[in-house]
Symmetry: C2
């Protein structure tokens, strides 16, 4: 999981699942100060990889570049900014949770529609296929079906 020796931008990109272009972009945007080798090449070691992995979690949940910059600015400030970082993360967490709920609601509506197609295709009153269950669906059974079509 961790590298013993600093990685080139290509290797780092491969590990993180992004393109080298993206890593350079993040650098340009001032998210990280990536150490350079003698020839000026970026060297990604554990610290950078760890930070980037977390930044990618933030990006994956829709935080914009401005948010990432703000967070990394606090990180550079030092340990005493921990409360502010926590506040920033909690605020983001709440936004994400809201989006997650509405995403689940939308998905639920789509599944209801699929179920209706199943009912009509099955042509015997009951769904032909029981719409195989998924772990993600657990919470949705509490919400009303909301069959709006």
């Amino acid at each position: 999981m961790s590298a013993l020796v600093p990685l080139s931008i290509q290797e780092a990109a491969a590990r993180l699942g992004v393109s080298p272009h993206t890593l350079r972009y993040y650098d340009r945007e001032g998210l990280l100060d990536v150490p350079r080798a003698s020839g000026g090449e970026r060297r990604y070691s554990d610290r950078e990889l760890t930070l980037l992995r977390f930044l990618l979690h933030l990006r994956g949940t829709g935080m914009g570049m401005a948010g990432l910059r703000a967070y990394m600015a606090l990180v550079r400030e030092g340990e005493h900014t921990a409360p502010e970082r926590r506040a920033l993360l909690v605020a983001h967490e709440q936004e994400v949770e809201a989006r997650l709920l509405s995403l689940q609601a939308d998905l639920s509506a789509i599944r209801a529609k699929i179920a209706r197609y199943d009912a009509h295709l099955g042509c015997d009153g009951a769904p032909a296929r029981p719409v195989l269950d998924s772990p993600v669906l657990a919470a949705q059974r509490t919400a009303p079906p909301e069959v709006n079509a």
Copy 2:
């Protein structure tokens, strides 16, 4: 929930929670054939509102305009396209579920980070605040904490 009389674009937009601009855009893009009043004004009745509501569920789960067009093309084709519509929706559903899972994984990582800040701020080995639980979180306790920072 439903209108007895066709709505103006403003009223429809308000009900659907989008802007009139967006409704005209959808019209231009050929998603719906919205009936017009004598003066050429769009009139949204139950059929249109219902269709749009479902389209907004699709948009809300990240389906692009091309997907919406494809779906609506099938709807216009008639009832015999039901199997294709179902297939389209099922494919989309699976994409969304995948995104949902990765979103939850990202969110989980962020929450782990918050918990670590809590631990350090609390300064007594245990989280000062038990990180209040949410219904969304139910499935996540099965996944490993993945504290990567």
